[in-house]
Structures are given as C-alpha cells and as structure tokens.
Subunit: 230 residues, 2 copies
Amino acid sequence: MLEFVDGHPNASLERRDFDVSFGEKAFWSEFKYQRDTEIFGEAEPADHVYQIKLGAVRAFDLLADGRRQIGAFYLPGDIFGIETGDAHRFTSEAIVNTTVWIAKRRSIFGEGVEENISSTKDLLKVITRNLHHVENHLVLLGRQTALEKLAAFLMEMDRRLQSPSVMILPMTRRDIADYLGLTIETVSRTFSDLQRKGLVSLRGGQPRREIVLLHRSKLAHLVPVQHEKV
Amino acid sequence: MLEFVDGHPNASLERRDFDVSFGEKAFWSEFKYQRDTEIFGEAEPADHVYQIKLGAVRAFDLLADGRRQIGAFYLPGDIFGIETGDAHRFTSEAIVNTTVWIAKRRSIFGEGVEENISSTKDLLKVITRNLHHVENHLVLLGRQTALEKLAAFLMEMDRRLQSPSVMILPMTRRDIADYLGLTIETVSRTFSDLQRKGLVSLRGGQPRREIVLLHRSKLAHLVPVQHEKV
DNA sequence: CGACTCCTTGACAGCGTTCAACAGTAGTGG
DNA sequence: CCACTACTGTTGAACGCTGTCAAGGAGTCG
C-alpha cells in the first residue's frame, strides 16, 4: 500500500484501513497535509476519494497570469475529489494543517462503477451535491454585489459550521476574495460595512478570523432569493 | 402515455417511441416547444431526460428582482435535465422553436439507478460533462473581463456548432449577457470592439445573429488559459 | 402606418479595482 | 531583549471598467 504515499507526495501517513460507511466496506487511510500544500493537482487522474477529518481545503483554478478562482471550500465531514470523472478539474490545497481520509476509488466503486450499485448511488449523491453548490455559485458570481456575496458566504459558512456562537474561519481574506470573485480590499471593506451596520463583529487581532454573526436574519435578508413563480 | 403531455403543458406531441442509444433501449417521445416557453421549471421533479433535436434551450436562475443568470445553453444533440438528481435547479426555456426528445427517467435508469448499470455510466458521463462546463464557467464569471468572456463565449459556440463559416446564434444579446454576467450594452460594445479589431464580422440586420469569426487564433488568445505548473 | 423587439451608441455615474501606506502579530536571529 | 522581516488585514485616494440612463436605427408584424 505504499502506492498511497507515492501518489501523495505532500501527505504523511498516520493510520490506515478504516472501515467507513460509503457504499460498502472500503479501506480508508488517514493522511495529514501541512498548510498550503497540494492534495491533488488539476488534470491529475481522479482515482482517490477524500474525506476531511480535521482542517479545511480549497479547490481552485489558477490562470496563467495569477488570477485564481476558488470553486469550493471543504470542511470536516465533506467528501471531495470525485467531482469530475476521470481527471480533476480543480487543484486542491490544505488551507490549514488538515487531516484527510483517503480511499482508492476502485476499492469503493469497483473498476469504474460497474460492480457496486449501492455505492454508485452514494457517488451520484455526492456529485449532485457538488453540482448544486456550483450552480448556486454561478448566480452569486454572475449576478450579486459585493455585499450580497459576502453575506451569502457568511451564511453558508455559518450553516456548514452549524451556527457556532463564534465562527472561526480557516481561510484568509484572499481565499474569501477568490471564492467570491472580488479583491481582498473589497472583502475587507465589506466586512467593515457589515460591522458598521451591526450585523457582524470581527474578533481576534490579525488574522481577524473570528466572526460573530450578530443578526442572522438581517444578514439572510441581504442574500438574494430565487424568484417565486406567479 | 398522456401523462407525458400532462406533465409538459407547453409541449406538443409529434411522434413517439423512438429507440435511441442511451444506455439500453428506452422509449423517447418527440415534443415541440414554442420560442420562450418553459420546458421545465426550477424545483420541479427531474423525472425526465431531454435531448435536443432542433433548436436551442437556455437553463437559468431568476432572482426575485429580475436578475437572471444563465448557466448553460443546450444545442442540437445535447442531453439535459438530469443535472441535479431529484429536482431541477435551473429553469429551462426554448430560445427558439425547439424540438426535443423526452424519455421518462425510470424507463432509462430503472427505479432510480438500481437496475441498469450501463446507462448509469452514461448518466455519470453526462453529469460529469455538465459539472465540467459549470466549473469552467465559474472561472469565467469570477475572474474574466468582458472581452475575455465574450471571446470565450464565441469560441465555445464555434466549437459546439462545429466551426461553421457563418455562425448563426439562436440567442439574443440579453441571453448572452445573462450567460456572461454582463449587461446587454456591454455585450454590444464588446462585439463592436471585436469587430473594430478585425476579429469578427457581424452580419444580418437586426437581430444581428450572424457572426463570422475572422481570426480564430487571435480570438483564442484572448481567452485566459489555466496556469501551467512549474 | 404605428407598435414592438432587438441592437447599437453616447454620456455619465458608480462599484469595485488599483496603488499605496500603515497597523497588528509572529517568527528569527544577533 | 530588541531590531528586522514577513504576513495578514484595514483604510484612503484615484482610476477605470462596467452599469445605468437615454436616444435612435433597423427590422417585423398586424
């Protein structure tokens, strides 16, 4: 099973051969990635499945001139790496030191998807969730203002972190900006806006990653909703 | 089989019970939709699969205040309507008078995806292609300029229409704008830009939907490419 | 003919970017 | 212990790309 480590140069193997419920029995191994190291690159073969145990991951595309678009953040519990069939579309990096469980794709799905039906349904469920998220994000990127984008981002993180009283964001302003299609300055200014309006409170000093949502319903009102049919 | 017509109020049934290759044998019926009529709405159950025979379709999300984001255009040959598992995420409308073949989902996949393995692979292929397209579109919406967006749009249409000498776009400037996250004025100005630069020629008078790509390689150079790893 | 849609163009405004300076924190090494 | 550096984040000022508002041309339909 050293092939695992070979295929993941930035990972350090901790334990292995878990039996997690994803379809049927499968062999999972635990890896740790240091902050800012790559988990897999764009166009690499997508032959593993990843689940975050601890930490956070960004999936992004980098243009030749340095522009970056983050397509998704993955948090503890999230499954990723199987978004696009044969090859990865986005590069994935650990945002902070991150523990990931990894399984070979064929150990879960058989060769391709031929053999294992129940896990194929799980696969479809994960992909469908990803697709849904990306489609929502299309609307955000194409048709929302900076304020709406940041409010939507905060509500998304709040939901996915199960509405903690103090939300501790793993990502930097640059990550947030690249997720929302903005610059770090605009993100920073919009945070200040929200603070002036009394909707959020920024805590912790440099990196200001601790955020308290003071008025979730007002924040939610800033997020555009889809049209209700007449 | 009148349930078909019941479920598709805007459609007129023409012929039915084709035998098309999508996985194994399935019963397809041909429907026609008038320009600007809805094929299926957001949040409706996704229990049919659609393939365009003639015409064009837009899939979009409409916000409460009228802002619209188009996620994809579908052209002859394209399969759509199975993007998101149980319920549709986007509304689909015929852009022009459009002929569509429709099959019940379970007549293709069995109840859910349990029974038919080979068509499950087809399903995954279609969904994967959709996901790939949407992820590309994320980068376009979040990180590209108006000029880059329009160039990318023209190259995409050129490829999908098999590089005709004269490209006849089915969609209006508004559709293009809502696809690219721009306004119609910016789209129009950017078309004029490209024309002044000698890269395209706009033909046909009001609706100016006939476009000749005069310099595909220069046009392609306007489209940002993903970063090549060092 | 009038009414309508689609598209283009001009003038102007504004949202978000760019450029720049600076504060707070952490890590390093003399 | 204290520079020194590096990194993250905030804020100000000016710019500019794109949006907004407005007018008008071209084509279609009844």
